[in-house]
Structure formats: structure tokens, C-alpha cells
């Protein structure tokens, strides 16, 4: 039976069939929500529809590294279930609550719909690379599946990738299969202090271009204690981590003095700080996230004249703190990559496109796909521009 939350008139279907029915019979725009913690993009007017009641792990085979889970399942539940078997979501999804000032429980469906990946993306790939299959309801109210729960699958078009990062604008995810990986036995972080951005970017490149399997490469021009810090993470079996630490130390010592941190608590906290962009949590201003050619990052950051910056993915991801209302794209001009507005007031998010505008032929393809999947334009209309 369909529950209606009277206060917000939110639709909260308790099954896939109910969700399909809710969309098929919708009379106007719907605002699709998981936990509602990733509130970015152009503000959407519409009746809230949440997947919060579609919960539960439907299949978990640790020996096959496979997890199938309903979309509304809290991320914390998923992570706890995996941790019991010493496994994890390899792509290290960010918790956006601190940065966006949102509350509630992030859901696994929200992670998939926003293709959320953290620092380890530079080594292992993005959320979308670990999504093996999806079930979804499109804007017509039809139940559609794509992919499956096996690691290799090229049967038919890959709607799984298309759904990852589509922010509920093409369909509402009801169930997702993931490939998961074991937690490593050991972790070490190499730290170099005091590097300017350009040198730090070169240091990260040197580490990432080594065969030593770096699983995180970040640089904060202003670290926790105010000084610049560059961080390189390695994970794996204890002996291997010790060996690679020594080899990377040799490589990084060309750039500055290298400290090594192996304490599990401290290293976890340090990478959470990077993952969740904690440096910007208590500072006012808009937050932009750039994906770009790593070597261009220092120059792009300088052009932006930001109030704060954080380099992740060896420079391939750049977080910038900008004065409120800044049109960053206009300020930067062309560069090899794209910029997304992640945190800003509603008026700013109405005035400036949150998602990067596409060239005309690509925009036409996107519009065509939206018309096919959501002919009435009722799924998070306008959210992605």
C-alpha cells in the first residue's frame, strides 16, 4: 500500500510496482529523492517522491564480490554489511552532508544516481565502473532492467552507465547490483609539506606514474594546520605496503621532506577530510567541482582566484571555494574538462547552470534521450539544465 507523508505530501512507495504506479499516474513534476543529502543542481519544483521505503540487501555473495541492493537502502547499512565480511565499496563515495549542510541518511540509490566517487577513483574507477546492473522505472512508469549481477556483461546497450549520474532525470532506480572489493590489510600515507600547487601536482604525477599502485593523491594548499600538504596513499598486504612506501619515499623525496603515517585511525580521518572536502565545511561561499586534465589544474586554479582549493585525483579533480554568485565558467574560459556547481544558494543555482552546458549536437542527443525516457518531462525536470 502506498504511504503518503502528509506534511510534505511526499510519495513514498513501498515496492517497485507501487513506484511504477506512482510515476505512471503522476499528474505533474516529481522531485526524486533518496536521502535528500545531495541537494545540488537546478532547484526542482515538484511533488517529492522518495525511495526511502525501498530498502534491503537482496543478495550478497562475498565470494563472488557481488552485492544487489534496493535503492533506498541507507549507505551506512550497505557499508556495515560489507564490513562484516571485510569488504567495501571500492569507489569511496563522498558524504555530502557536511559540505551542503543537509541532513538525513544518504542512500545507495543516491550514490548511484549522482555517480559519487571519492579519492580512490583515481586508481580503481568511479561508482559507475562498479555498477553491474540496475532496475529502474522510467518516466512512462515502465519497469526496465539493464546489466545484471555478473562482472562481465556486454549483452545489449549499457543503460547502467547512462543511469549513473543521471540524477533521477531519466528514471528512478529501484535496485542496483555492485561489484565490491575486499578491504586491504594495511594502509600507509606519505606526506610532503610546504609544496606550491605546481610542484605538488608534479609530485602527485610522479607517484601516480610509478608502478606502486597509488590509491589516493591529493594536495591541500591549506591543510588542517594551515600549511600546504600533499598526500599519497597506498593500500594492500602489509609487506607490499612497506615495500611500496620505501620506493615512493625515494620518488617523493625529490620534491620535499617525506613523512609516513600508518596509523589506521589517522589515515582514515585524513582521507575522509579529503573525500568530504571538510576544508570548506565551515567557510561561506559557493563550491565548484572541476574534472580536468591533471597537469592543467594549478594554472586553472590560479585563473579562478578562489578563496580555497583542494586537489584530488592527482589534480584531475579540483574543488574550488568561490565568492557567492561567481560565474566560474565565465571567469575561467575554455579548459580541458568541465565544472559543476555543487554548493550555492537557490537563486545562484537558478541563475548559473549547475551542470556544464554541452555543445549543441551533444545537447540535442541528451534532449532526445530525455524525451524518450521521460516524455512528459516529470522526472526532476530541469535539474541537470
Amino acid at each position: 500500500m502506498q504511504r503518503e507523508v502528509t506534511a510534505s505530501k511526499a510519495l513514498c512507495p513501498a515496492s517497485e510496482a507501487e513506484l511504477a504506479e506512482a510515476i505512471a499516474s503522476a499528474e505533474g513534476p516529481l522531485r526524486i529523492l533518496g536521502g535528500g543529502t545531495r541537494a545540488y543542481g537546478r532547484p526542482v519544483e515538484g511533488r517529492p517522491l522518495t525511495t526511502a521505503a525501498l530498502t534491503g540487501i537482496t543478495l550478497y555473495e562475498p565470494g563472488a564480490l557481488t552485492l544487489v541492493v534496493r535503492a533506498g537502502t541507507p549507505l551506512a547499512d550497505v557499508e556495515a554489511a560489507l564490513a562484516e565480511h571485510g569488504q567495501r565499496l571500492p569507489f569511496e563515495p563522498m558524504d555530502m552532508r557536511g559540505l551542503l549542510g543537509t541532513e538525513g541518511a544518504p542512500t545507495i540509490g543516491g550514490v548511484a544516481a549522482a555517480n559519487v566517487s571519492g579519492p580512490r577513483r583515481v586508481q580503481v574507477g568511479a561508482c559507475r565502473d562498479y555498477m553491474l546492473g540496475v532496475r529502474l522505472i522510467d518516466g512512462r512508469g515502465e519497469i526496465i532492467k539493464s546489466g545484471g549481477r555478473v562482472m562481465k556483461n556486454v549483452t545489449g546497450y549499457d543503460l547502467v552507465k547512462l543511469m549513473a549520474g543521471s540524477h533521477g532525470t531519466l528514471g528512478v532506480l529501484t535496485e542496483i547490483s555492485f561489484k565490491v572489493l575486499p578491504e586491504p590489510e594495511a594502509r600507509a600515507v606519505l606526506l610532503v609539506e610546504g609544496l606550491d600547487d605546481a610542484t605538488a601536482q608534479r609530485a602527485m604525477t610522479a607517484a601516480l606514474n610509478s608502478p606502486f599502485e597509488v590509491s589516493g593523491a591529493a594536495h591541500a594548499p591549506r591543510g588542517v594546520d594551515g600549511a600546504p600538504v600533499t598526500m599519497i596513499r597506498i593500500e594492500g598486504f602489509a609487506g607490499s605496503v612497506r615495500y611500496r612506501t620505501e620506493r615512493l619515499k625515494e620518488i617523493l623525496s625529490r620534491f620535499g621532506e617525506v613523512a609516513v603515517e600508518t596509523d589506521p585511525e589517522r589515515t582514515a580521518a585524513g582521507w575522509r577530510w579529503v573525500r568530504d572536502v571538510e576544508a570548506f565545511h565551515d567557510r561561506p561561499g559557493d563550491v565548484w567541482r572541476l574534472s580536468l586534465k591533471p597537469s592543467e589544474a594549478p594554472e586553472v586554479a590560479a585563473r579562478a582566484e578562489p578563496e580555497g582549493a583542494l586537489y584530488d585525483w592527482g589534480g584531475g579533480r579540483l574543488w574550488l571555494l568561490m565568492p557567492e554568485g561567481t560565474d566560474l565558467r565565465a571567469r575561467l574560459g575554455p579548459f580541458s574538462g568541465h565544472a559543476t556547481l555543487i554548493r550555492a544558494s537557490e537563486p545562484t543555482r537558478r541563475a548559473i547552470a549547475s551542470f556544464p552546458p554541452q555543445p549543441a549536437p551533444v545537447a540535442a542527443l541528451e534532449a532526445g534521450i530525455r524525451r524518450q525516457f521521460d516524455p512528459r518531462g516529470i522526472l526532476n525536470p530541469g535539474l541537470m539544465g
Binding site: 562481465k152 556486454v154 586491504p184
Partner: protein, 478 residues
């Protein structure tokens, strides 16, 4: 194998169409229309099906591809894109009233950027020569289909190809950063680039694996990786498929991420031994596991693997101490297809199953082999459940091919039943087209076809593939 019926009006217009095509390509030999020459393109590596195309066009630039497609769009001529023609699924099988658009002359390296870990190439370049271009600088391109010496990046992208090493490094879609692509109406688009992740919808992820039905890819930006310090395999023999399967599962759970876990069953081991004399043990199931790193790291991982294997009472355990021993361990596996080919003609399938279903599926395949009266050997990527049953048949014996096809279809249905899929890395093409209804509902297929409607509204690109003909009939006729 049924294909869409050729349109006689198009065949009649051949002279005009060929003349128009000649006008937009720079090289005189870029349009081939003599029948004795188009025959060279009548099939791909799925040689059971053949059909010479109306003409073959081999453009030399993205602009020429665009001009050719524009003409075909105007004339309503079907276009079958072709990389190197190594598809095992008939992905590049021509249609009689359409052209083959080959990208083999688009084979330049356009940019190597090791600082940003990517290479930009034209799509006709072969897979192995991409690694060749960055090898001296200590990098490699990870996806390694077994046809990598010949197969083109264009085909890899069309089929989202895998390979033996994808357990650790992923398949094409996980290593593809961007493409330049020409739509059926001649529009040139760029998706992605030398940076990670899409800004808008992940169209790149959609295009990869779309079997040349959404556009013709002419350039690709590929992720390159630093080469590992070294790699070494270990060989293990077990007295049942179940035990070998359990060992695979335990290795994965232990947190070891081998680059490859290969599995061979008894029929395959025996054929290989007779042919390649690799010195494989006399056993029911054999695993080859390869790990990477420095010597000490390799030892650490191999020791762990040995500990796990011993819990499963292996009948053989052979670790490679040097490159020579490594080569000998791999010799049999690499010769496996050839060895089976010595015995008879064979058909190779690539359904994928959940790893946990391995023993059951192998037992069922054994039973079905008796029912159909055809021998089958299994050699496959066990780490990710990607099977490769090789069904032996005699092409000269009437009815044998049909029986092999029926047997193959039953195996693929079994893969879907246990939670797997029809194809893990070869693609659907024409080979598995008519089985799509086993895995997908009509609504699932409709959603996929609606995407093709957006990219290619007239359904001219690689027609008659991927979707069952009766399902696409209305669209093709429109």
C-alpha cells in the same frame, strides 16, 4: 541466419551511390565496388555467415567519414562499421544493400601524454599497437582481447571488449576516456576527453558496447597505466570442478587481486596436452593464477594463494620461478583454442555466470554434451565468471552445425537462468540476437531501441544486429 531483406531499389541505385561516395574521399582506392574485391569483406571472424556488401568505403579522416555518412543518410543506405573484422559475434557482417565503412586507414597516434596518463589514437589502430606506442615510456593499455594483435580500438569500443587481464584492470568501458564520433547524419560529436567522468549524461558509457549502432567512432582517448614491475603465474590442479571453483572464490575473498584467473576442464586439458605438451597435470580442473608486483610482492601473494590452494587438496601445484617457467605454464592455455581446433571445428561462446554457479553450470554442460552428442571443452576467465565453452562439431557433416548452434543456445539460456548473461565480452552481433528475449523483457529491449531512435532515427547503422528482427521490423520499415 536471417538478415533484413535487401531493398532492390538501393541495389539498382548502386552506380549512382558509388559515384557520389567516390567524390568525397581523397584516395582513389577508398571505394571498392567490384564483386571480387568486396568478397574480402563478406564476413568477420564468425565465418559461418557471409554476405558481400554493395560496396566498401575506407575513409582517411573523420571528415571523410562524415561526408560518407551524410550521403548514405540521404540515400537511405545501410552502413556496417568495421574495425579489423575480428568479431566472433558477426558484429561486422555486411548487408547486401549497404556499405561496409572500414576505419582501417584511420590508424595514427595523435597524442601521447604520460603526465596525464592518456593516449589519443584514431580508432582503426590495433589494440596491441596502442600499448606498443607507450611501452618504451613504461606504460600500457590494459584491455587485452585475445585478438589484440589484429583487432581495432574501434571494434573494442563497439563491443566493450575485455581480455584475460580485466579481472584487475576492467574492460574497455573502464579504460575509455573519450571519443570523437560521427552520427549517421554526418554530425561530428566529441564525448568525454582527457579527464575523468561525464559532466552531463554519460553518453560515452552508452556508446561503448553499442555495437556500432549509434555512431562511427573515429578517435579515442584511452587511459594508459604504468607497467607493473613484474608478473608471475602459478598452476594448480584439482580433482573436481567444484573444488577448483571453491578455490577461486577463496582466493578472491582473501583480498588478493590477481590479474588473471584462468580455468580449464579435463577435455580441454587433454586436448591441450596432446597438442602443446605443456606438461599439465592429469586432473579434472586446472587453474592458472597470475599476480603482479615486485619479486617480493609476488612471493607474498603466491604464498597466500598456495596456502589457500592446499586447503583444497590440489593434485598439482606449480609455481613459476622465472620467465621461462611462466611461459611454460601459459603455453597450454594460450594453445587451448588451437588445440581444440585440431580435433574439430568449434564454436566458442562467452556467456557469463555468477562465480558461485560455476560447478553447477559445468556439470549441466557435461550432461547436455551427452544429450546433444557433441564434445565440449571449457576454458575461461574464472575470476569474473566469463565462460568460454568450446563446442566441437564437424562442418562437413550435415546437421552438425545446427546441432552445435542449438547446444550453444541451451548453454546461453542456462547462463541467464543462473543469474548471468548471454555474452560477457564478444557482443551480441547476429550470433546471439535471437536470444535477447531470454535475458530481456520487451520493455527492456524497447528502452534500448529508443536510444537508437535518438542517435539513428532511420535505423541505418549496423542494421539487423543486437535486437531480434521481429522486434525491430516496424522501426526498420518506417
Amino acid at each position: 541466419m536471417e538478415m533484413p531483406r535487401p531493398d532492390p531499389r538501393r541495389l539498382e541505385a548502386k552506380a549512382r551511390i558509388v559515384a557520389r561516395l567516390r567524390e568525397v574521399v581523397s584516395r582513389e582506392d577508398a571505394v571498392i565496388d567490384e564483386e571480387h574485391e568486396t568478397r574480402a569483406y563478406e564476413c568477420d571472424a564468425l565465418t559461418a555467415y557471409r554476405c558481400p556488401p554493395m560496396a566498401v568505403v575506407l575513409p582517411s579522416s573523420t571528415e571523410e567519414v562524415s561526408a560518407v555518412l551524410k550521403i548514405c543518410h540521404e540515400e537511405g543506405v545501410p552502413v556496417v562499421p568495421r574495425g579489423s573484422g575480428t568479431s566472433l559475434a558477426g558484429g561486422a557482417l555486411p548487408v547486401a544493400d549497404g556499405i561496409i565503412l572500414g576505419v582501417s586507414r584511420l590508424n595514427r597516434v595523435l597524442e601521447i601524454d604520460t603526465d596525464n596518463r592518456f593516449i589519443r589514437v584514431e580508432s582503426g589502430r590495433t589494440n596491441l599497437s596502442v600499448t606498443g606506442a607507450v611501452e618504451e615510456e613504461g606504460f600500457f593499455y590494459a584491455p587485452d582481447p585475445s585478438s589484440q594483435l589484429a583487432c581495432a580500438i574501434a571494434g573494442n569500443i563497439a563491443m566493450n571488449s575485455g581480455g584475460a587481464h580485466c579481472l584487475k584492470y576492467g574492460v574497455t568501458t573502464n579504460n575509455l576516456m573519450g571519443v570523437k564520433m560521427v552520427l549517421m547524419d554526418g554530425t561530428i560529436v566529441e564525448l568525454g576527453g582527457p579527464y575523468l567522468d561525464a559532466g552531463g549524461l554519460d553518453l560515452l558509457g552508452l556508446v561503448c558496447g553499442s555495437e556500432g549502432q549509434l555512431g562511427v567512432v573515429t578517435e579515442a582517448v584511452l587511459r594508459i597505466l604504468p607497467k607493473p614491475e613484474g608478473a608471475r603465474p602459478i598452476l594448480m590442479g584439482f580433482d573436481s570442478n567444484e573444488v577448483a571453483g571453491a578455490c577461486v572464490s577463496d582466493i578472491i575473498r582473501a583480498g588478493i587481486l590477481p590479474v588473471a584467473i584462468e580455468f580449464m576442464d579435463r577435455p580441454c586439458i587433454e586436448a591441450t596436452e596432446a597438442f602443446a605438451h605443456a606438461g599439465y597435470p592429469d586432473c579434472e580442473a586446472l587453474l592458472i593464477v597470475e599476480v603482479e608486483g615486485s619479486d617480493a610482492e609476488i612471493d607474498e601473494q603466491l604464498n597466500l594463494i598456495k596456502q589457500i590452494a592446499r586447503r583444497h587438496n590440489p593434485v598439482a601445484l606449480r609455481e613459476a620461478k622465472d620467465a621461462d617457467e611462466a611461459a611454460r605454464i601459459w603455453a597450454g592455455r594460450k594453445a587451448a583454442f588451437g588445440a581444440m581446433g585440431q580435433i574439430n571445428d568449434y564454436m566458442c561462446l562467452d556467456g557469463t555466470i555468477p562465480v558461485s554457479e560455476l560447478p553447477f553450470v559445468l556439470r549441466r554442460i557435461g550432461e547436455m554434451s551427452k544429450e546433444f552428442g557433441l564434445e565440449v571443452g571449457n576454458v575461461f576467465h574464472a575470476g569474473d565468471g566469463n565462460m568460454h565453452p568450446l563446442i566441437l562439431y564437424d562442418a562437413n557433416k550435415p546437421g552438425d552445425l545446427e546441432r552445435a548452434e542449438a547446444f550453444g543456445a541451451e548453454i546461453l539460456k542456462l547462463c541467464v537462468e543462473v543469474g548471468g548473461c548471454l555474452t560477457g565480452e564478444h557482443g551480441v552481433g547476429v550470433e546471439k540476437r535471437d536470444l535477447m528475449g531470454v535475458q530481456f523483457s520487451r520493455a527492456d529491449l524497447e528502452a534500448q531501441m529508443r536510444l537508437k531512435d535518438v542517435f539513428d532515427p532511420a535505423w541505418l547503422l549496423n542494421p539487423g544486429k543486437v535486437f531480434p528482427l521481429d522486434v525491430t521490423e516496424a522501426r526498420r520499415a518506417a
